[in-house]
């Protein structure tokens, strides 16, 4: 046993092992709690893991760079998970093919709404131009949104935060909102949350209904495609 527990902490806090363990452990706990509440919208595991880890980093004075040296292994999986969406798409190809026209219409209209609404609102709220640009791609999955943000010369790390916040808000709001509106078509519900709230919305949709999850996954991947094309255009028209 080391004589000085502080030197042990100094050693461990610089190692990826500790931060990877913290990420998985906090998530596993938050997910178990979410399951225990019957997947209540406010027990969102991403939201609770995020603030608990953030507070822990602030209390221990750990920099995000140090944390990310461990957490990057989890972050990396976003790419392979996007590729993996091909499987639910393939397995449900008949339902998807049958709904191709409403899907494409909702994709184009929804994607344009997501970008235009955030840019106009951000300008109306008087946010600085750099922030407006960083928020523009917030409805697509983190890796893609950060790429778009970089190509616009905006702040990619702010984009990542906006992406996660958007995902969490959509995942919390969607079930009560759709229930109140009396919408029972799980294809439409899933598609809307996947488009507005990418992977976090998709994870939520899979919790509620399998068909909703599939449509959310499709919306998320198609939206990544369309948003990469539309954001530069929208920014040229609305911001510059």
């Amino acid at each position: 046993m080391t004589a000085n527990p502080f030197s042990l902490w100094v050693y461990l806090s610089q190692q990826p092992l500790l931060w990877l363990t913290v990420t998985l452990l906090v998530y596993a706990t938050a997910d178990a709690l979410s399951l225990a509440t019957g997947r209540h919208p406010f027990a969102n595991p991403v939201f609770h893991s995020m603030w608990i880890i953030a507070v822990f980093l602030l209390l221990t004075g750990t920099s995000y760079t140090t944390y990310f040296s461990g957490a990057q292994f989890v972050h990396f999986l976003l790419g392979p998970a996007t590729v993996a969406l091909a499987v639910p798409l393939y397995e449900n190809r008949k339902i998807v093919a049958a709904a191709i026209v409403p899907m494409l219409a909702a994709l184009v209209v929804g994607c344009a709404t997501a970008i235009v609404s955030v840019v106009l609102l951000a300008k109306a709220f008087g946010l600085p131009q750099n922030v407006v640009l960083s928020l523009a791609p917030k409805s697509v999955t983190a890796g893609v949104a950060m790429g778009i943000s970089e190509s616009l010369g905006a702040d990619a790390s702010l984009t990542a935060v906006a992406v996660v916040l958007t995902g969490i808000m959509g995942a919390i709001i969607v079930t009560p909102m759709m229930n109140r509106m009396g919408i029972t078509d799980y294809r439409a519900r899933g598609f809307a949350v996947g488009l507005a709230s990418h992977g976090i919305g998709t994870a939520r949709a899979f919790q509620v209904d399998a068909v909703a999850g599939v449509f959310a996954g499709i919306a998320m991947s198609l939206n990544a495609l369309v948003t990469s094309l539309l954001v530069p255009l929208a920014v040229t028209l609305l911001v510059r």
Binding site: V87, G110, A114, S117
Partner: protein, 128 residues
């Protein structure tokens, strides 16, 4: 399992290479997803493709395993909020407000568009 993960990574790699090589404005993993979808469809048509992870549900199980924990993968990016505390102190309320209103509008417009077009199509089909 390892072969299935390798196939998924290979699709992503091919996607990234194609995107860089041709300077396409599409994310590499999205192209990788299309590639994997094409491989799965080809497998049903030609025995040539029904090999290794593409048979016996190999790649399917690996993909479902990954997707079951999709939420987890957003946490590292979300914790990045600790780098933005001074910006959030200044503009936090406005940013959260903008994002919340935008996500509600987007959900509403998307779900309504989907339902209207879907209803118009079924009506058109029942008339004809």
């Amino acid at each position: 399992m390892i072969a299935s993960l390798s196939l998924i990574l290979l699709c992503q790699l091919a996607g990234e290479i194609a995107v860089r090589a041709f300077a396409w404005p599409v994310p590499g993993p999205v192209l990788g997803m299309l590639l994997l979808l094409v491989l799965l469809l080809l497998r049903d048509r030609a025995v040539l493709f029904a090999q290794g992870p593409l048979q016996g549900g190999g790649v399917e199980n690996a993909a479902k395993g990954l997707l079951a924990h999709l939420s987890l993968m957003f946490i590292p990016a979300g914790v990045g909020v600790v780098q933005k505390l001074d910006l959030l102190a200044e503009h936090g309320t406005a940013i959260v407000g903008v994002l919340a209103i935008s996500v509600v509008i987007t959900l509403l417009v998307t779900v309504v568009t989907f339902l209207i077009i879907s209803r118009v199509m079924t009506r058109g089909r029942s008339v004809s």
